[in-house]
């Protein structure tokens, strides 16, 4: 029988780690158990890839971000404090990598999560129309996915990052602030603006048939 390669052994053993909680896997990985680290990767790779795609808006960059984030996490696992979740930590690494890509690609434009982009004007809601009870049923799964992605991708990076972490990846306000290195009040105000802008973008697709936009605030 042909001996298994090292990587095959690791991959085959990953399934035996699937029942462990995150904290146990991190402890085992820090003690040098590669199978435990590979299970952590399996657990979060799809979320990190989706996050990277949303921030970079470029598939090649997103794939680089995915690899760089997990390789960095593996290399620096001894620096992981354990007072936050591993997921929040890997998200923070991935967000940093993604923003670096974005800045590099848009070198002529400034892309920052720190700049004050709040003009106050975008809290003013312009398009108000009721939606159907389940408006998303009007579209196929593919069409809906396209509408949701293109709408979120059209937000400014500072709003997009907050919205994706809070409402797509389901991080808390505090975890989002930690992952992005911004304050809790900044997360709250950007989240509000992101949600209102998205609501307005989606109204174009989801408003109740026959209803016109009926008011301005």
């Amino acid at each position: 029988m042909k001996p298994m390669r090292y990587d095959e052994e690791v991959l085959m053993a990953v399934s035996s780690q699937a029942g462990f909680d995150e904290a146990s896997l991190v402890t085992q990985a820090r003690e040098g158990d590669n199978r435990a680290f590979a299970e952590l990767v399996k657990r979060y790779e799809a979320k990190i890839f989706r996050l990277a795609l949303h921030i970079t808006q470029n598939r090649e960059d997103a794939e680089d971000v995915l690899q760089e984030a997990f390789l960095k996490a593996y290399e620096h696992l001894d620096q992981f404090q354990g007072n936050s979740k591993f997921y929040t930590w890997i998200v923070r690494i991935a967000v940093n990598q993604a923003l670096m890509k974005l800045r590099r690609r848009k070198a002529d434009k400034s892309v920052s999560l720190d700049e004050d982009i709040d003009t106050g004007e975008d809290t003013v809601t312009r398009e108000i129309a009721a939606w159907d009870e389940d408006p998303e049923q009007r579209f196929s799964r593919e069409e809906l996915g396209e509408i949701l992605s293109s709408s979120v991708d059209s937000l400014a990076p500072a709003y997009r990052s907050v919205f994706v972490l809070r409402d797509v990846e389901d991080l808390s306000t505090e975890e989002t602030a930690e992952a992005l290195g911004i304050s809790v009040p900044a997360v709250k105000s950007r989240l509000l603006r992101a949600r209102l802008q998205l609501r307005e973008k989606l109204t174009r697709y989801f408003k109740r048939k026959g209803d016109d936009t009926f008011a301005y605030l």
Partner: protein
């Protein structure tokens, strides 16, 4: 008496249920009397629900393979 602008400023916290009972009662009184704000609250809530319910797209097989290869290379190098 809350204005529409006051209501919008609290909307996120209201939808996330992170406000106290007194403010909640004020906001609910406002939307019961203001159809515009009721629609904005309802459609913003639906916006959040739709995104939260978005299908998790599985990672493409070839992307995962390249990630695991890169990782295994790093692991193998460390274990030498």
């Amino acid at each position: 008496m809350l204005t529409c602008r006051d209501f919008l400023a609290e909307l996120s916290e209201y939808l996330d249920e992170r406000i106290d009972a007194e403010l909640r009662a004020k906001l609910e009184r406002h939307i019961s009397e203001c159809p515009n704000c009721w629609v904005i609250a309802d459609t913003t809530k639906k916006t959040i629900q739709i995104y939260k319910g978005m299908d998790a797209v599985p990672i493409p097989q070839e992307v995962e393979s390249r990630l695991m290869q890169a990782l295994e290379k790093k692991m193998a190098a460390r274990s030498r």
